[in-house]
C-alpha cells in the first residue's frame, strides 16, 4: 500500500484566532479600546493598571478591567479600588488567557459605555504571546529588577507587543539597571517599538503613558471600520 500527502493548512490555534477576530469586531463596533498587558509575574502590571484606571477615570474616561490569575481574586479587588469595574478570571492552572475566557467574562460589561477595557494577562512571558485576545494594543512590561536582557531571552513575546513599558524605574540605580542596554534589547527584538519608563510609586512617566494611550485610542477610532449594525 502506498502513501500520499494531502495538504491541510489548518492553524493549530484557529479556534482561538476566530474567537479573537469576533471579539475584535465587537470591540470596534462598541468603540472600546482594548489593551492586553503581558509580563513576568511581579513586574507591576496590577500596580500600573490600578494607577491607569484611577487616572483615566479622573480624566473623564470610562474604563474597566479583566484580570487573569491562576487562583484568587486579589488583583480584581486591588483594581476595584480605582472605582472602575474589575473582574477576575481564574485560569486554574492555565498559563495564559484565551479569547474564549474573555468572551465568557464580558457578560455584564456594557461595551458601548466603555472607552477602555484593560486585560491583565497571567504573569508569564512565554505562552500569552501565542493567544490573540482581540486586543487593539498589546503592551509588554519589564521591570528594572528583571535585568535589561529580558527581551532577548523572550523574543516571541516582546516581538508580538506594540509597546514596551519599563516599570519601577525609580529603582534603576540601586539595581545597576542599564537603561540604554534595555532599550537596545527591546528594539533588537522589535525595531522602533515605543518605550515608556514609569514608576507608579514615585509618579514618574505616568502622564506620558496616559497621553500615549489616549492618542493611540484616537488613532484607532479613526482607523477602525465603520460600525455596521
Amino acid at each position: 500500500m502506498s502513501t500520499r500527502i494531502v495538504e491541510v493548512r489548518a492553524g493549530v490555534l484557529k479556534k482561538n484566532d476566530e474567537l479573537a477576530r469576533e471579539l475584535r469586531s465587537r470591540f470596534e463596533q462598541a468603540g472600546t479600546f482594548v489593551v492586553n498587558l503581558v509580563s513576568s509575574p511581579g513586574t507591576g502590571k496590577t500596580a500600573l493598571l490600578e494607577r491607569t484606571l484611577t487616572d483615566l477615570r479622573a480624566r473623564g474616561a470610562r474604563v474597566a478591567a479583566l484580570v487573569g490569575d491562576l487562583e484568587t481574586d486579589n488583583d480584581a479587588k486591588r483594581l476595584a479600588r480605582s472605582g472602575a469595574q474589575a473582574r477576575q478570571i481564574n485560569t486554574h492552572g492555565r498559563c495564559h488567557l484565551e479569547a474564549e475566557m474573555i468572551g465568557e467574562h464580558l457578560a455584564g460589561f456594557a461595551l458601548p459605555e466603555l472607552d477602555y477595557l484593560f486585560i491583565e494577562n497571567v504573569g508569564n512571558l512565554v505562552c500569552p504571546a501565542s493567544y490573540d485576545l482581540g486586543e487593539a494594543w498589546r503592551v509588554a512590561l519589564l521591570s528594572v529588577t528583571e535585568g535589561e536582557d529580558k527581551p532577548l531571552k523572550y523574543p516571541s513575546m516582546f516581538n508580538s507587543a506594540d509597546v514596551a513599558i519599563i516599570t519601577k524605574i525609580d529603582l534603576a540605580e540601586p539595581c545597576d539597571f542599564d537603561r540604554v542596554a534595555a532599550h537596545d534589547a527591546i528594539r533588537s527584538v522589535r525595531p522602533a517599538m515605543p518605550i515608556f519608563e514609569v514608576s507608579v510609586k514615585r509618579n514618574v512617566g505616568i502622564d506620558a503613558w496616559l497621553d500615549a494611550l489616549a492618542a493611540r485610542r484616537t488613532l484607532w477610532q479613526g482607523s477602525r471600520p465603520l460600525a455596521t449594525t
Binding site: 502506498s2 491541510v8 493549530v12 490555534l13 492555565r94 498559563c95 505562552c127 516571541s156 533588537s188 525595531p191
Partner: protein, 120 residues
C-alpha cells in the same frame, strides 16, 4: 508551557481533516512550526503519542517542519532569513528589519495517508 494544549489542537485539526477525506489511515501529521512561534518542538513530539491514543490518528507520527524566521529588508529590497530570533537586523547590511514574512507559523500543513484502492 502549554504544549499539551497545542498537541490537542494539532490532533483536532488533523482528525477533522482526515474525516473530510473519509477517514483514511493517517501515517503522519506534518506540522509547520515557525522559529518565532515560541513553541518547543520536542515537547510537542513528547506528548503526541499520549494525545493520539484512542483517536482515529492512533499510530500516526508527528513530523515537525521548521519554518525559518524571514523578514523584509527595506534596504536590500529582499527577504532575508535571520540566524537568530532576537536580532531583527538584516544579516547582510545591518538595517533594522521588523517586517516578518514567515516564522510565526503553527499549523497542520498536511497529512500523510495510505492511499489504498483509491487510485483508478
Amino acid at each position: 508551557m502549554h504544549e499539551l494544549n497545542l498537541v490537542q489542537g494539532i490532533v483536532e485539526a488533523a482528525a477533522d481533516a482526515a474525516e473530510r477525506m473519509g477517514n483514511p489511515r493517517v501515517t503522519a501529521v506534518n506540522v509547520r512550526v515557525g522559529r518565532l512561534a515560541g513553541v518547543d518542538a520536542g515537547a510537542l513530539l513528547f506528548s503526541y503519542d499520549v494525545v493520539v491514543a484512542g483517536t482515529t490518528l492512533e499510530g500516526s507520527r508527528l513530523q515537525i517542519v521548521d519554518v525559518p524566521l524571514v523578514v523584509w529588508c527595506s534596504h536590500c529590497l529582499e527577504e532575508k532569513e535571520l540566524p537568530e530570533i532576537n536580532r531583527f537586523r538584516c544579516p547582510q547590511c545591518g538595517t533594522d528589519a521588523g517586517e516578518i514574512r514567515s516564522g510565526r507559523e503553527l499549523e497542520v500543513e498536511s497529512l500523510e495517508i495510505e492511499s489504498a484502492e483509491v487510485e483508478a
